[in-house]
């Protein structure tokens, strides 16, 4: 029969339409909670997928990467111990070359000291590739999760300096718990090795 194909196809759209309501009734109010949003991008959902951004937001997975930030550890009396040692590796691997690092020197001896005196990322140019974080040997630069960065004037706002880039290690731990744990363990192991080597040497 001519037209059978079309009718069959329309059946599919009708099913989609109804499935949304069936899903809605089945899941109930929960549909609009965080859990419900997560369910809406699972294999089981049949009907509508749409998430009402910005009222609802999809959960960001741990590995999600956006603009990188610099990590500092909080000292006992609140001082910021910046992890970065200005080694320059991130600025060398950065594909669009959007990281600028100003190394600082000891005013007396003139020797370079680890903490950078300034650190810039041009976030208009940053391609969010994650290379900087991947190759930083000191776990000092990490890819952030904040993707709502629109500004009215990009010229005034979009070159991030050190102050704007710095975030506490606790924040890092909160958004990337697994990575944080792995890196902390690796560092601890290294320290322990160093300590034993040191004590051996002394002995």
């Amino acid at each position: 029969m001519y037209g059978k194909g079309i009718i069959k196809g329309l059946g599919v759209t009708l099913k989609h339409f109804l499935d949304t309501y069936v899903d809605d009734i089945r899941v109930g109010k929960k549909r609009y909670t965080e859990e419900g949003v997560a369910y809406r991008s699972s294999k089981d959902v049949r009907g509508l997928f749409t998430v009402q951004y910005p009222e609802e937001k999809l959960p960001t997975p741990e590995e999600f990467r956006f603009i990188p930030f610099l990590v500092y550890d909080e000292g006992e009396d609140g001082e910021k111990n910046i992890r970065c040692t200005s080694c320059g590796i991130c600025s060398k691997v950065c594909p669009p070359q959007c990281i600028w690092i100003v190394r600082s020197e000891d005013p007396e001896t003139g020797r370079p000291i680890p903490e950078p005196s300034d650190f810039f990322i041009d976030v208009d140019v940053c391609m969010n590739c994650g290379m900087c974080a991947e190759f930083c040997p000191f776990d000092a630069i990490v890819m952030g999760h904040d993707y709502e960065l629109a500004v009215y004037d990009r010229l005034a706002n979009n070159i991030y300096d050190k102050d704007k880039l710095l975030k506490p290690a606790a924040y890092y731990q909160a958004i990337r718990p697994v990575n944080y744990r792995i890196q902390a363990e690796a560092r601890a192991e290294k320290e322990a090795k160093k300590a034993t080597a040191q004590s051996k040497k002394e002995a």
């Binding site: 001519y2 037209g3 059978k4 194909g5 079309i6 069959k8 196809g9 599919v12 759209t13 989609h16 991008s41 699972s42 294999k43 997928f49 997975p61 741990e62 590995e63 999600f64 990467r65 200005s86 320059g88 590796i89 600025s91 060398k92 691997v93 950065c94 594909p95 070359q97 990281i99 600028w100 690092i101 100003v102 190394r103 370079p112 300034d118 650190f119 810039f120 041009d122 208009d124 140019v125 391609m127 969010n128 590739c129 994650g130 290379m131 991947e134 190759f135 890819m143 070159i159 697994v178």
Partner: protein, 579 residues
Amino acid sequence: MTETTLAIANDIEARFPQCVTPDERGGYEGYLIEAGKLVEFATALRDEFGYDFLSSVTGVDYLPDEKMEVVYHTYRSTGGGAFVFKVQTPRQTPSVPSLCGIFPGAEFQEREAWDLLGIHFQGHPDLRRILMWEGFEGHPLRKDWKEAYYESDAKPFDSRWPVGEIYRAEDENPFKGNVVYPQGFDPDKWTPEGETALYAGMHEVETDEAMHTDQIVVNLGPQHPSTHGVFRMVATLDGETIVKLRPVMGYLHRNHEKIGERNTYLMNIPFTDRLDYLSSMTANWGYVQAVEKLLGPKTAAPERAEYIRVIMAEFTRISNHLMAIGALLNDLGAYFTPMLYALKERELILDIFEATAGSRMMCNYYRFGGLARDLPAGVYEKMRDLAFERLPRQIDELDRYLTENEVVIARCEGVGVLTPEEAIAYSAVGPVLRASGVPYDVRRADPYGIYERFDFDVAVRYHGDVYDRYLVRLDEIRQSIRILQQALDDLPEGEIMAGKPKYSMRVPAGEAYGRVEAPKGELGFYVVSDGSANPWRYHVRAPSFINLTALSKMCEGDKVADAVIILGSIDIVLGETDR
């Protein structure tokens, strides 16, 4: 070189004793052909030795040797390894005979080499610029060409560290305050030469109808919703019938290859994401494969990484084909319902990419010798859910929804036909080639990675029309699901990286051509290393670009409304076409 290619090489040397010499530079392969004998040689290669498929043509500027080189990669459409040959020409007056007469698929690629490197092809039917704009001066891929704001030959730039002098690159550009026109120049009255040549070529079609009717030239695009981006087709119409059609592209050109030649090897990986932005995983793979060939066997990826590479590539293929089908239906006028059903499934695949690679589309996931990171907890289960449950079910639904639809059939059947001979001659690849009855799939014809281990069929259809291209994509999704199910079942535990991840490495001098079966067809990367930290030459053989060579052929004789769906059935992404 395998044994068969070795035997063939001996035959060829015997057949052309004087003008064919093996390329003996370290790390290079193939043969050097004398320019005068090129056409004769290529004809013999195609007709006597069976190398009927010209995959890639590109140029290399060997500035220190004062030479230009044109590199050809040919294959047999029945499968097997490459036969590579090259022609050298003096750098001051680079000129080689065109191979368009033997391999029509060379047309756009030769135009590209002319445009970007200034190599002249004698006897080319339409040697105009193709990617740069018509008024452009110079040939940007030449090694001595420098862009308007130029910092240095190679990255990383010295100004970034240890004394980072922050500035915006746009502020350094001399054209910042927009362009200053030369005196007496009126942009409104100026038509670039290339444009005049293009229109001049459009008016000459004779028809043998008794009644004389005027033909008109119509521009479809560059701003046109159905063109999948900024893309233009100039068509000569006789009534509603297309008698001639020329694609015009390059609106999104950013000279990906020049950028790539200043990048270090590692930096190029995220840039390959931006070629075909719907399937970045396979683009990563093609590039990584080419560089791994240069690096040698010690960088072979571990087992687990090989499996994950296959899994990611097949998920990419499914998501790409879903988009292709959805977009084709959009072009047909079934506005956005099928597209959204396709997007829905793609969304779940992108969730997996996001959780693993960190980004939905710009995956940047493959590395030389492995992968950036292992699968995080929970992702494997999600993959299984999709591959075993959801996708098979949803693909069947899509099939039920569209395949037998009478309107789809009426619009697509017998439209945009490409015969198998034409498809091979025009260097068509991927679903376009396979819908024309040529069962050529790089995963089978010249296997890479671990594809030999999987049980799957090469999808093929025989009518070569738009409808068959749709069906081939549907078949391929089903085959990809088969591969996924096997790969997920067999996925071993273990490392995902050969050795430690390194940010700078020494790449031995030489050349390599890596090719993968990307969703849109054969995607090749030709990389030449001079032993330094940056590639000397970095060329992308883009399926979206080369498949367009056959567009005119497919459109001629069809109605103007069909041009849109024919283009949709090729499935191009302008990021890759224009590079």
